[in-house]
């Protein structure tokens, strides 16, 4: 369902480095859009003869079908000049954009879906962590998330207990901050920007800002793509397709408190695109 909250949100529609001067057709919330690169000015997005608002940030072009009341969020931690910024590219997934975000917020699946990379079956426990909806910024945050990982990042030599923070700054975007093996005290930043094509089809644009001096860009991209292809095998096989906002339809546990808060936050702002409000 396309509510004001849905239309007025910012969405990623392409990599700034990959825009076409001739224009490229795409979909946003089921509506046709055309994304144009620009040789010297600002890229443009058009829908039904109307020019849509645009923002260039995090290596991506962002637009909205409505009238965004606030600026696109920022990720100050990603500004450090030593960071490698990685445009991973796009992964098309036949799932609700909200299911894609929720999967990204979940750590309990690491041992089973990303076996011996992000998790190990011998260490499946999710210890209690802190979740809150920060009203002053209208974002969902999960902090003090700890998990044992056999190979937490391309730059991790072996198994470590990784600390995570999760942030949902917009309904179809999430940012993950995680322990950075080569730089104790700093956080690696991995974000997922989701473009809702329809309620059950999305383009996922992962983006990273890492401290990693040893891996090539290609290696970093391959690592993240491997992880995401493993996630896709889950996301395309969940029933129902749309994310149930009715708590009775699924069975959350303490490990799922981030997703519980995310669903509650979506419901509160009437963000229902890709969601299912009642059991069918």
């Amino acid at each position: 369902m396309t509510t004001a909250a849905v239309r007025n949100a910012w969405y990623p529609v392409g990599l700034l480095s990959g825009l076409s001067l001739d224009g490229k057709s795409s979909l946003l919330l089921g509506e046709e859009i055309t994304v144009f690169g620009s040789r010297d000015g600002v890229p443009e997005v058009e829908s039904g003869g109307r020019a849509l608002p645009v923002v260039q940030r995090f290596g991506h072009l962002w637009t909205s079908l409505g009238y965004p009341g606030k600026d696109l969020f920022t990720i100050p931690e990603a500004d450090h000049p030593d960071r490698t910024l990685v445009d991973v590219g796009v992964v098309r997934v036949k799932c609700s954009p909200l299911r894609a975000v929720e999967n990204f917020l979940d750590i309990a699946h690491f041992p089973f879906v990303h076996t011996d990379i992000l998790g190990a079956e011998s260490h499946p426990e999710v210890r209690d962590y802190k979740v809150e909806i920060r009203d002053e910024v209208d974002e969902v945050w999960a902090t003090k998330v700890e998990f044992y990982q056999p190979q937490a990042a391309k730059s991790a030599g072996g198994g470590i207990t990784t600390e995570y923070m999760y942030r949902v700054p917009a309904p179809t975007c999430c940012v993950l901050y995680k322990t950075c093996p080569p730089r104790p005290g700093e956080w690696d930043v991995i974000a997922l920007f989701v473009q809702p094509l329809t309620e059950d089809l999305c383009d996922v644009w992962p983006w990273m800002a890492l401290f990693d001096e040893d891996s090539t860009l290609t290696e970093l991209i391959h690592f993240q793509q491997l992880i995401f292809v493993q996630d896709r095998s889950i996301l395309e096989n969940q029933i129902p397709k749309r994310l149930p906002l009715d708590p009775a339809m699924e069975t959350p546990t303490r490990a799922d408190l981030t997703s519980v808060a995310y669903r509650r936050w979506l419901k509160r702002q009437s963000y229902t695109y890709g969601a299912q409000l009642v059991a069918e």
């Binding site: 309990a108 089973f112 879906v113 079956e121 499946p124 999710v126 889950i234 969940q238 959350p252």
Partner: protein, 213 residues
């Protein structure tokens, strides 16, 4: 289309296609199910949906006498009850968490499933055994007509590849029919292959008939 709540047996798979320690997806007319064989050889069926996050359980894995979801490893027993939530090793799962076990039975190398336990056993086909299963995108009428078959009690009897073949029908109700072919017990592998080839021809013929059938 028959109601899913019918207490009747529906042919859903060939026994030999589900070795010990594996799980496969199958269908009753109105719902997806997961059919799995424990290490002991016992066969079980339940809803093809994990109650936790809705993941298809047919993508999961079987260990010992349990089926686990591939998403978070939730482990279910033969009674459908959740036995283990790996993220919380110290927690005993409440007995309200259940993946919905369904009745099933095996006879003549065919796996039969039902939404509600039928009062009687499925039909017996003495002297015949399951050869293979295939899905045909055509109506039962078109399939019957394409093989010049005879309709007997919901089955089609036909000569296929030179053998007296019995075709069991699982009509999905969506324009597709799962056909399970039974052939005389003990036929040779080459003769089984001939029937299999004839079934492929039958599929193409029935699908080519369209609405004309």
């Amino acid at each position: 289309m028959a109601a899913d709540t019918d207490a009747r047996w529906v042919p859903i798979a060939v026994s030999a296609d589900i070795p010990n320690g594996t799980v496969v997806p199958a269908r009753l007319p109105t719902r997806m199910i997961a059919v799995w064989r424990a290490a002991s050889g016992d066969l079980y069926a339940n809803a093809d949906r994990c109650p936790h996050r809705g993941m298809r359980l047919s993508h999961g894995f079987v260990r010992g006498q349990t089926l686990s979801c591939i998403y978070h490893g939730w482990r279910f027993g033969s009674d459908g009850a959740c036995q283990k939530i790996p993220a919380h090793p110290a927690v005993e799962p409440p007995n309200t968490i259940n993946c919905g076990p369904l009745p099933m039975t095996e006879a003549n190398g065919v796996v039969w499933g039902a939404a509600v336990s039928p009062a009687v056993a499925p039909d017996q086909f003495t002297g015949h055994n399951a050869l293979r299963s295939l899905v045909i995108a055509a109506s039962v009428d078109a399939i019957s007509s394409a093989c010049k078959g005879r309709r007997v009690d919901g089955t089609i009897r036909a000569q296929l590849g030179g053998q007296n073949t019995i075709l069991l029908m699982n009509d999905y109700g969506s324009g597709e029919v799962q056909v399970i072919a039974l052939v005389p017990s003990g036929i040779s592998a080459p003769n089984g292959m001939k029937v299999s080839t004839a079934l492929e021809v039958l599929r193409r013929t029935a699908e080519g008939m369209g609405d004309a059938a």
